[in-house]
């Protein structure tokens, strides 16, 4: 580091702090405390009045989150904020996080938002199991004005979480308890044995040159009808419902000089497997113990200190069998393979179907893991009012870490076919205990020095804050998949934000980050990311001040830069600015005692100026309140990404090295958000109707991809991840074939193997007489929706309250062939079963009285791998729109006068339900849940609970 840059940085620091204060000094001095403003908008360094903010931020309170009884915090976020898209995944306890994105995909490398808790970054996994009771608010930071100070981690949005703090006053105690029963949202069940066998006969015959060749005789099929083997594996392995309990206790209070907030919480979320919990068995489950202790203190009018400790233990257990494999087996094991147990009491199993699902959860023992995580934040603020009124500096540190240990009790069991023969190598074993396994950890240490200046004088209001931050994230190699150079992530920034309000009519804000990371070459570590924004509160202009319609009206706009350092997500190898060599093949040298010499090759060609992806964001918004009842927020935004990393395939092959990864890709995302809230009341009855809507559009402006054989298979110019495939043109009919089974002249020949009547026909887009890669087109919409919306109804009447939240998506299509593989592929390679959808198959066996040619909705059946039918095409793309009732709740608050004798201040009892109802054409027409198409289904639940405050 040269002296020059030291001087420059020093001057920068001085300028940042002195200039604003000097500017204000010139104004008249009024050092009275800032006025309390009704609603504050949280943000980095300082909150601002929501009414005068120039940024795009939505805040959700912890109370709102509590209304959805879900174990995983991500599952409480559905539909609560415009711009925040929450997509449901599976519902397996302890592995049930929804996927969150803020304002679209942004980049074709995707990339994730960052989570901040009380001003410091932490991991998604720490965030997921926070309890609503410890959360004051979650704010979604969406535009450049809010994100610029985050520099290289800001481009994909920030979840800014503030935990509850003690308030001055008498000690308050609040206890919440809720319990409920959970059910699976939806199970798609395979066909019973009778139908399975009939269709299987057809499939085998189809593979036999369409000569009827049944595997199951009529008498065998009749036997299934009359009590033969027909196991509903879901019924056999699962319970119909399972309990969920959560309870928490909070204490808060204190005086001017010391305040505390303490929370203790416990959640028990049990899984659906039909198995007991004892020394050798365990249901899938998570039990969590949360504790939070936030402490504030003041000393000598100068010091303000904060100590935040948020700790948690997560205990997970599951049967000693991989959960996703179990669900795949449940989906694919036919009903007729064997009974759950043999007549002699032994477990069933065959070479082809070795993992009897019931035995998998009951006979193998259990896995358990014990996770501990803690985030400990300390800060000390010195108010330097004695130097310049309003000036302060602050030092803070955050230590967050996570460790995992495991304890497993496992055994193997012998399994026999129905003739009593063990076709596998599995034998009965005794239980064995292993505990010294799967030790993992991460830790993230952050140090922050900040300074700020707050001032109000007359019509002027100024907030400013600046910080220097260094962050070090250390993770075990097996946590991010690649050992060696991906274990340590360090970054650093100087950031700042200056917020100025004039006369409650104009707001101007400037923020920036000079942000650096260790992934880049020396001298190229830092980027500068500034943003400017402004707001004009029209309703405070004299012309509108007395307007009977408009209570509040603000327009705001922001523009600025942020970035995304993808290397933090381990998507690419790091340090690409240097040329590395890696071990590759090997060659033998020597004759009498040959030795194998490992080979070394150059890795990616180095790119000296490799850097972070850059995002230029623009936002324009209107906030309004009309008629004293209707609140409206409408926003349009654009996010222009450039420098997206991609392997540059435009280099010629003669270069002889894996093409360099360069900052070359470009994507534009744009969208609009609308939030409405109507408050109405009539006497004792009050109600609120509201909703939000997010519409998104994106386009890949540049990607250095290889030119595909078909122009329409390219990515450039299309939305991110738009699916490619073939355009289905119906079925091959009997009349399409010559006598020897070959296709008639003039019909294009598929390059995926021989076809027969009932196979899918594809359009020869290129017109070359062959169906191959040259005929690939875009086959529909992607599963990431174009439109995401939610609406809610709330009402209060005489102590009763009601709330219902619906959430839906539109402009979405799903490739059911790949998303619901086991449920859609019938008999594939004879290792999957068949579902209702297969009954719509094309079939023609007139002697057997089978002719579905005119009604077919599914290609002809086969027991083999079929490259022609089972490939991405328009045929398998189905409308993925849906609308779900996410939450419904009815509560009753006991009138305070009844409580006065019990020292209680508030008692509320409630019943609530989650995910009780879904409207979807996938569900209606294909019996598939629109979001969780395979694996462990999502859950719905019915709950009751009580809240007591002392």
């Amino acid at each position: 580091m040269t002296n020059n840059s030291f001087i420059i940085k020093t001057m920068l620091c001085v300028a940042m702090i002195v200039l604003p204060s000097v500017c204000i000094q010139a104004q008249e001095t009024d050092t009275t405390a800032l006025k309390k403003i009704a609603i504050m908008e949280p943000g980095i360094y300082f909150p601002v009045a929501k009414a005068r903010s120039s940024a795009a931020v939505t805040s959700i309170s912890g109370e709102t989150l509590y209304k959805t009884p879900a174990a995983n915090l991500t599952n409480t976020l559905y539909g609560l904020s415009s711009g925040l898209l929450v997509q449901q995944a599976g519902g397996e306890p302890g592995r049930d996080a929804a996927s969150l994105t803020v304002r679209g995909l942004g980049s074709f490398n995707y990339g994730s938002f960052a989570v901040f808790i009380d001003g410091f970054q932490t991991t998604d996994s720490y965030f997921e199991y926070l309890l609503p009771a410890e959360i004051e608010s979650i704010s979604i930071l969406k535009d450049a004005a809010a994100l610029a100070p985050f520099g290289m981690i800001g481009a994909n949005g920030i979840l800014w979480i503030e935990t509850k703090r003690g308030k001055v006053g008498k000690p308050k105690i609040q206890a919440q308890f809720r319990t409920g029963t959970q059910q699976l949202q939806h199970l798609t069940k395979p066909l019973p044995s009778v139908e399975y066998a009939s269709l299987y006969n057809e499939a085998v015959s189809n593979d036999n040159g369409r000569v009827w060749n049944p595997v199951y005789s009529d008498s065998e099929i009749n036997a299934y009808r009359n009590g033969g083997t027909n196991v509903d594996w879901y019924d056999a392995a699962l319970k119909s419902s399972t309990p969920f309990t959560s309870t928490d206790l909070t204490f808060d209070g204190g005086g001017e000089n010391a305040r505390y907030f303490i929370m203790l919480g416990y959640v028990n979320n049990q899984g659906f497997y039909d198995v007991t919990n004892d020394d050798t068995h365990a249901n899938r489950q998570i039990q969590q113990y949360n504790i939070r202790s936030n402490f504030d203190f003041n000393m000598f009018k100068i010091f303000e200190g904060r100590v935040n400790l948020g700790g948690r233990i997560e205990d997970r257990k599951s049967p000693a069998f991989d959960g996703s494999t179990l669900w795949s087996n449940l989906e694919s094991y036919p009903n007729n393979i064997y009974p759950v147990k043999n007549a002699d009491g032994t477990w069933t199993g065959t070479a082809a179907f070795p993992y009897n699902p019931v035995a998998s959860i009951r006979e193998l023992g259990y896995y358990s893991s014990h996770n501990r995580s803690i985030q400990a934040n300390f800060s000390l603020k010195e108010k330097l009012d004695f130097i310049i009124p309003g000036l302060y500096i602050s030092e803070a540190a955050s230590f967050s870490n996570w460790t995992e240990g495991a304890y497993n009790v496992t055994r193997d069991y012998a399994r026999y076919n129905t003739n009593g023969v063990n076709e596998t190598t599995h034998e009965d074993r005794n239980y064995a205990v292993s505990s010294d396994i799967a030790k993992n950890q991460w830790n993230r240490n952050q140090l922050q020095l900040s300074a700020g200046y707050d001032r109000q004088s007359g019509r002027h209001l100024l907030h400013s804050g600046f910080d220097y931050l260094q962050s070090s994230y250390n993770v075990d190699a097996n946590q991010n998949g690649s050992a060696g150079n991906q274990m340590k992530y360090n970054r650093q920034h100087i950031s700042g934000r200056v917020h100025y309000e004039y006369d409650k009519r104009f707001t101007g804000e400037m923020s920036f980050s000079y942000s650096g990371a260790d992934d880049f070459a020396e001298g190229n570590c830092f980027g500068f990311y500034p943003a400017v924004s402004g707001a004009w509160i029209l309703s405070n202009e004299s012309a509108l001040r007395q307007n009977p319609i408009v209570d509040f009206l603000k327009v705001r706009a922001s523009a600025g830069k942020t970035a995304y350092n993808i290397f933090e997500d381990a998507q690419f190898s790091r340090y690409l600015y240097q040329q590395y060599y890696v071990y590759s093949g090997s060659f033998l040298m020597g004759n009498s005692a040959p030795t194998s010499v490992n080979g070394i090759i150059p890795y990616y060609m180095a790119v000296p100026d490799i850097f972070a992806e850059e995002s230029m964001k623009y936002n324009f918004g209107i906030d309004a309140s009309l008629f004293n009842a209707l609140d409206i927020t409408a926003e349009v935004f654009m996010d222009k990404r450039q420098g997206i990393l991609y392997e540059d395939n435009s280099y010629l092959s003669v270069i002889g090295i894996t093409p360099p990864v360069q900052n070359s890709g470009k994507v534009t995302t744009s969208g609009l958000e609308l939030t409405l809230e109507y408050n109405g009341s009539a006497e004792k009855f009050s109600y609120r109707i509201g909703g939000n809507l997010t519409c998104l559009k994106d386009k890949i402006d540049y990607i250095p991809e290889l030119t595909p054989p078909s122009p329409a298979a390219a990515s450039m110019g299309y939305s991110i991840g738009l699916p490619n495939g073939y355009e289905c043109a119906g079925w091959y009919d009997l009349t399409d074939f010559n006598d020897d089974g070959t296709l008639k002249d003039g019909l294009p020949i598929p390059s995926f193997g021989n076809v027969q009547p009932g196979d899918l026909k594809y359009r020869d887009v290129s017109g070359d007489g062959v169906i191959d890669e040259r005929d690939i087109v875009k086959i529909g919409k992607r599963s990431y929706p174009k439109m995401y919306y939610a609406f809610h109804l709330e009402a209060d009447y005489a102590g009763f309250d009601f709330r219902a939240l619906f959430q839906g998506v539109a402009g979405r299509e799903v490739n059911i062939l790949s998303s619901a593989y086991n449920k859609v592929h019938a008999f594939e390679n004879s290792v999957t079963t068949a579902y209702e959808i297969a009954k719509g198959r094309w079939a023609y066996y007139p002697e057997q009285g089978i002719d579905t040619r005119s009604t077919a909705t599914y290609p002809r059946l086969t027991t083999q791998h079929n490259e022609n039918n089972y490939r991405a095409s328009t045929f398998w793309m189905k409308n993925g729109d849906f609308l779900r009732l996410r939450t419904i709740e009815i509560g009753y608050t006991i009138p305070p006068q009844l409580l006065s004798g019990f020292n209680l201040t508030n008692v509320r009892i409630f019943v609530s339900g989650m995910n009780l109802f879904t409207l979807s054409s996938l569900l209606k027409d294909y019996d598939l849940d629109p979001e969780t198409l395979s694996g462990h289904p999502g859950v719905k639940s019915y709950n009751t609970g009580i809240k007591i405050s002392f």
């Binding site: 620091c13 220097y468 093949g585 060659f587 060609m605 435009s650």
Partner: protein, 579 residues
């Protein structure tokens, strides 16, 4: 003013903290990563770069199993599946060969090599050439020798591209991102000259042999062999012609020499003679002890036997050989079986129809076959000749063990794959013979016949036939056309499964190439069994018949490989005709 001094002090401490931390904090942490300085910091690590150059360059045409970026080219199957030596059972997971045998070559699909990988191999050689001088513990002579080795490997890769594509871009250094990479295809003559220049330069520096721990690296003999092979392909009809196989207009020079010259045959013969002369004065020889089964078996199987000039040396079982699970299935095609004679030198009479015949007839006929057949194939139900009394080499193992998962009943066809494992005992790996001395005898025989030197042709041909057990049955044929057929048949038998036939039949432009050799009906024996479960011994087989297994695709554009369409789209290459 004091206030401002205090602020400045605070800021200075801020900035100095920032400054002092930055260098350390954002420095790449110490790790085990390798850069070029470390790779060439000692002869030991540099040997790894050299090893990789061998590994990559010599892989051409040899399919390796497993993942990793070297596994480009065929994903499943070998060149012998493409050439019709082996009958493809059509298993869907052998996509590498199935797409080509069933659908032909296409610029949109992978071929039997990977165009890009050729240049990755060449770049690896240049990496060594450019940096070997940095190695401190190596003598100047050793360094020059390593450079000559790398040149030889580069020459080999160009020779491999020469026979596949015709003229290709010549890259003579490590290209950087700043270089102009729009290097067009060089003419056929330029590529040939480049190969010969590289071989000649290397020949002067390369050693005749290595110390025992480095044996297997390229010698003077290898440089001669590469040159001889390149000249052989230059002399054969596909290139050595006034008109190309398909017209490429003004660019015919990329795929054809534009004239026929007998001199090309003479040059080829002379180059092969040089190989033989060098080899036989440096401990190489045709193995002939009068025990043909044993001699041929040893020559093609035993690592480092005197007949081997260069082999692909790897431990592990990742070559797609008959010994590996995924490579084991499938057997010899009927077409190739017809190339073999009986041990007494006469033709075997195999069925010409698809009538089902008794297994006993098959057993008697197959037992009469020549030793080279018995060293190369395992017969259905019969104790394996190449590894007697070893159950692992019995034909039923193809169908009996679930993990040989591409197998199944009737994968024996006209002989289970067993070559390269003669009396191998427990050895699971093989060293694939890249240059075997017998090749150069047949080169001379073929070339001399073309130039009318019939005596030379016959003498060289009969050396190979004598070793094969036909000592009393020397070829006396003096008719050029007939002798040409005999020599071509000798190639098919002697070099079965050795990656020769695919490019031999293309460069010979055989009349029947689309009618049973590569294209057209591909046949194999079909057996019936008296029981449904393996193991199968002779008594379990009931019948055999000749059945068509699949139709191979052939079209004239397949004489040369396509450049990948994605590469053509970059605008610097001219595609071969027909793609």
């Amino acid at each position: 003013m004091k206030k401002y001094l205090l602020i400045i002090t605070i800021c200075c401490s801020f900035a100095s903290f920032f400054t002092s931390c930055e260098d350390d904090l954002l420095k790449k942490p110490f790790g085990s990563d390798l850069d070029v300085e470390k790779v060439f910091s000692s002869s030991e690590i540099a040997l790894s770069a050299i090893s990789e150059a061998y590994f990559r360059s010599l892989m051409s045409g040899i399919t390796l199993r497993g993942s990793g970026d070297w596994n480009w080219g065929l994903s499943g199957g070998t060149l012998s599946h493409l050439s019709g030596e082996l009958c493809n059972n059509g298993a869907a997971n052998w996509v590498g060969v199935a797409t080509i045998t069933n659908g032909g070559l296409s610029a949109s699909r992978s071929t039997d090599d990977n165009f890009e990988f050729n240049y990755k191999s060449i770049r690896q050689c240049f990496l060594v050439i450019d940096n070997i001088d940095k190695v401190p513990d190596m003598s100047a002579n050793e360094k020059e020798q390593v450079k000559a080795e790398m040149k030889t490997l580069i020459a080999y890769r160009y020779e491999e591209m020469f026979k596949r594509y015709g003229g290709v871009p010549i890259v003579d250094r490590s290209l950087t991102l700043e270089d102009d990479m729009m290097i067009p295809r060089a003419s056929l003559q330029e590529v040939l000259d480049h190969i010969i220049t590289l071989c000649d330069e290397a020949f002067g520096v390369l050693p005749d042999s290595y110390p025992d721990n480095f044996k297997g690296r390229v010698t003077k003999g290898v440089a001669l062999a590469i040159k001889a092979e390149a000249l052989m392909y230059a002399a054969r009809p596909l290139f050595n012609s006034a008109t190309p196989y398909m017209d490429l207009g003004a660019n015919n020079h990329l795929i054809c020499f534009g004239n026929y010259s007998e001199q090309r045959w003479r040059d080829a013969a002379a180059a092969s003679a040089a190989v033989i002369q060098w080899a036989e004065s440096h401990n190489h020889a045709i193995i002939n002890t009068g025990q043909p089964l044993d001699d041929y078996g040893t020559a093609v199987s035993t690592p480092n036997n005197p007949e081997i000039i260069l082999a692909y040396k790897r431990t592990g079982d990742d070559i797609y050989s008959c010994r590996t699970q995924t490579g084991g299935a499938q057997g010899m095609s009927f077409n190739l079986l017809l190339q073999y004679l009986k041990a007494d030198g006469t033709e075997q009479t195999w069925p010409q129809d698809d009538v089902v015949r008794a297994y006993s007839e098959y057993a008697a006929k197959i037992e009469e076959m020549e030793p080279r057949y018995k060293a190369s194939a395992g017969a259905a139900g019969i104790d394996p000749w190449n590894n007697p009394n070893d159950e692992n080499w019995r034909s039923y193992r193809l169908s009996g063990i679930p993990s040989w998962f591409n197998g199944g009943l009737n994968c024996e066809y006209c002989g289970r794959r067993v070559k390269f494992f003669y009396h191998s005992g427990t050895r699971t790996w093989m060293e694939f013979p890249i240059y075997r001395l017998a090749e150069f005898y047949l080169n001379i025989a073929e070339a001399a016949n073309e130039t009318g030197d019939t005596d030379v042709a016959l003498s060289r041909l009969n050396v190979i036939r004598q070793r094969a057990g036909f000592g009393s049955n020397s070829i006396m044929e003096r008719d050029k056309a007939k002798l040409q057929k005999i020599i071509q048949r000798e190639w098919a038998v002697e070099f079965y499964e050795e990656c020769h036939r695919l490019y031999d039949v293309k460069h010979w432009k055989l009349e029947d190439i689309g009618n049973g050799i590569i294209g057209g009906g591909q046949k194999g024996f079909f057996y019936t069994y008296s029981k449904s479960q393996p193991p199968f011994y002779a008594e379990d087989y009931v019948s055999y018949s000749v059945q068509k297994r699949y139709d191979g695709t052939w079209a004239p554009y397949m004489y040369l490989n396509p450049f990948p369409q994605s590469e053509i789209n970059k605008g610097y290459l001219i595609q071969n005709p027909g793609y």
